[in-house]
Symmetry: D2
Subunit: 262 residues, 4 copies
């Protein structure tokens, strides 16, 4: 699934992030606008009812389902580094992904991909040993799963190394820096509105490049583009991105479909 000049791309969103009485995200509106969803597994977000209901919603809208495991830290939403041993990391991935596999099956489908969340995603992108532990756990769960990771990162390298299909991920609604990293949310201009996000999505999907904060052109070869579900603009961004991709003649399809990019 190399990212060379894709004509088809996946649009993904993190969903199922409510917990008990606390709602998060606009899943009901967002899910119809994307092609793949990453379902929180109950450790950093997502209670059992939310997991099952989210899978049912995804099935109803025929989008691809993946598991979105994170650090077991509900209060920190999986965004705080937690120093797990490789054995603990592997084990939590197995049971978290297993939870969503079961919910998806009860909802009528098999999951297609696994995308780590938050601090786990970020650390795996730059830590080859951790990336290898994750890739190994995903492969043991099923060699057919697609592993989603930051484009060009240690995560996707580890996935390829072990023989998994990987999906490199770009971001529509986040500004890139000149070195290819994402601009920190604490800096001005880190978040893009609907129009800019739509332009960046087309640029990634068609040309494999983005214009960075410093004006330079940076290569972002992505198989899937993430729409963040938790911003106030999430639905407007998703609509704008979806329209712009259609106008540019770029087809969208779920991860795991054999869409001829790799």
């Amino acid at each position: 699934m190399a990212a060379a000049t894709p004509r088809t791309i996946d649009l993904n969103a993190d969903v199922g992030e409510s917990f008990g009485p606390w709602a998060m995200g606009a899943d009901a509106e967002l899910i119809p606008l994307v092609t793949s969803v990453n379902v929180a597994c109950g450790a950093h977000a997502g209670d059992p009812s939310t997991i099952l209901r989210t899978c049912e919603l995804a099935v109803r809208h025929r989008v691809g389902i993946g598991a979105h495991p994170g650090y077991p830290d509900l209060a920190g939403f999986g965004r705080r580094d937690l120093d797990l041993t490789p054995d603990e990391l592997r084990s939590t991935l197995v049971v978290q992904v297993g939870a969503v596999v079961a919910a998806a099956r009860v909802a009528g489908v098999e999951i297609r991909h696994v995308k780590p969340h938050g601090a786990m995603y970020n650390r795996a992108a730059r830590d080859p040993a951790m990336a290898a532990t994750i890739a190994g756990a995903v492969h043991d769960l099923s060699p057919a799963f697609v592993l989603v990771g930051l484009a060009g990162s240690a995560s996707v390298a580890a996935g390829r190394e072990i023989g998994l299909r990987v999906a490199e991920e770009g971001f529509a609604d986040r500004r890139y820096e000149g070195d290819g990293s994402l601009r920190s949310r604490r800096l001005d201009g880190a978040l893009l509105g609907p129009a800019e996000a739509a332009g960046q999505a087309v640029s990634i999907a068609r040309d494999g490049v983005v214009t960075a904060a410093d004006g330079s052109r940076v290569a972002v070869r992505a198989d899937t583009i993430c729409i963040h579900g938790d911003g106030p603009d999430a639905v407007a961004v998703a609509r704008a991105v979806r329209s712009a991709l259609a106008e540019a003649g770029i087809r969208v399809a779920p991860l795991g479909d054999d869409f001829g990019n790799g």
Copy 2:
């Protein structure tokens, strides 16, 4: 899997009940002595590493693996009633069983059975609506799963009603009352030592009866006999039961084997 005059019976134990730094049970010694194990799923007991390690241990000893879901109440060990809605009950069963399904698969096998734990087990035994919710969730997870429930209870009736294979459960190391219920742990004589437990196991397996606390004979037609793993005598009880069954010419085999009793 009706319990009529079995010559083959399963011996099961609740395992994987450690959590983080806190050990519980003598799984390493107990697992080789039984034929099926019920693995705690992380909600009332069992962290991810324990779940995975326990499944690996069970595979090594070639015992059948089942999931042992309970109320999501770690501090109460799933022994306190928690008033879940049917939707919440169904959802927690799906994700809990899914966790053990995934761990068992990574360890190399498929799980065979599901046995609810603690307060969930006890309430389902007498509450047909709750029993139906549980049976429905297990059936949706896989119609091939065996549902384990108290012999003669609403749990097994609901399982049969929906078309699941069921295993009726008797207890080797607990005294029965004249009405077929288990004698409360708060009363004298509730727990049997190794010799008495062995005798009761043979009596259940061969004759389908036990001698109750009041001296009366009570029918207990069981497909599987539970050895409690958390008592100080657990290993001694398991050894005595296993020997006594062998001497009585009763074969033991895991749940889910087609052992011709039903």
Copy 3:
């Protein structure tokens, strides 16, 4: 603190019910409109940062602070019955209230009252043994605390019995039934909008009566009136109630002030 013809009443709201990344309620707008707040203690809602920040906010607006302990069941928001032993109930009350006592003290004040939450509140209102356990724990924490409970219930009776000051609670934004109970949220007309809630609050504060769903007049002698913080109308209800009480010449003051009603 008997409710005889009060000219002064407290307005209370449940606050601090956010958890980690999940916001709940409009605390910043609601707190200035009430005279007492009940701060969730981390067991059914409220993470440590929320607890501390909420106490600081309450101090800034000079409203009285109380602890709002609930069942340790985050996913269920303390609204599901959980069968605690008296020892477990007492212990969880001690540590939950202790958490808010400490946060309030760091914010510069002492807490004044304790109001159980959700299923714990409802069950204590009709279960004298449980009410006595709660009253005992609160008294042991401090005999100076005011115990808040449903007007006319077992909760307040148990508080008086042990020598605590009690505050009987009425509801502005919930319809009463003819028997004095609250109309179930599942029935039409259970929730009152701002205008009706304001009228009911004045009626409770000035006359000690409400007009029930069946048109009958029911006595509700309350020392404090609850404004639910989690409805979409919460702030509008609070504004309307506050204005209406002012127009009716009824003074508002925090629980624990010696306002001469009892």
Copy 4:
């Protein structure tokens, strides 16, 4: 409370580390042998009933009570680094210590000290910013609390800086390295048996030195000596240390007693 040539020293132990059905430590035997106990606060260990029962036990044996807060990570027992913000660290300290303050008060006493646990203790020992956050939180809780930290570390420096009394801690049952750090538990000879621990305790209390793994003499000027409660030898170590101190004419007394060392 400087450690200059103390003739009186405190012996402390971490207690109350059971959780729900899972027991840890031999608190009932260990508590009578020490002079201060550090009670786990429910975040890394300790459920509410355990917290309250442990405080009652400590009161019965007239030992000093302190709070033993840790990272909110039960499965990891507070031994895994968790990247809290200063605000999150401060808040969790406030509510955790508050829980034990309340339990101790219900048991009849005030707590005297605060000793962070596990990864929080270790990181604070070498991270001045984190140490300052902890010292600030403890001071805000009560300027009368004694802050316990690793002898000679950033923790105790931060405590002194803010005006707290501090207690520098040495270890009886752990081998020191030549640089004054504790020998890793993963290396041979890291743990001392009763006789060696007793010798090291006397050496610390009387002479302010220990013999390190490499044979060198290292200064350890301590106000309190920790006996680990979770080893199999814990009680034997405590007995041996207590006897040896008595034979050497060194008095033991709880933290917070004004015992003239500083």
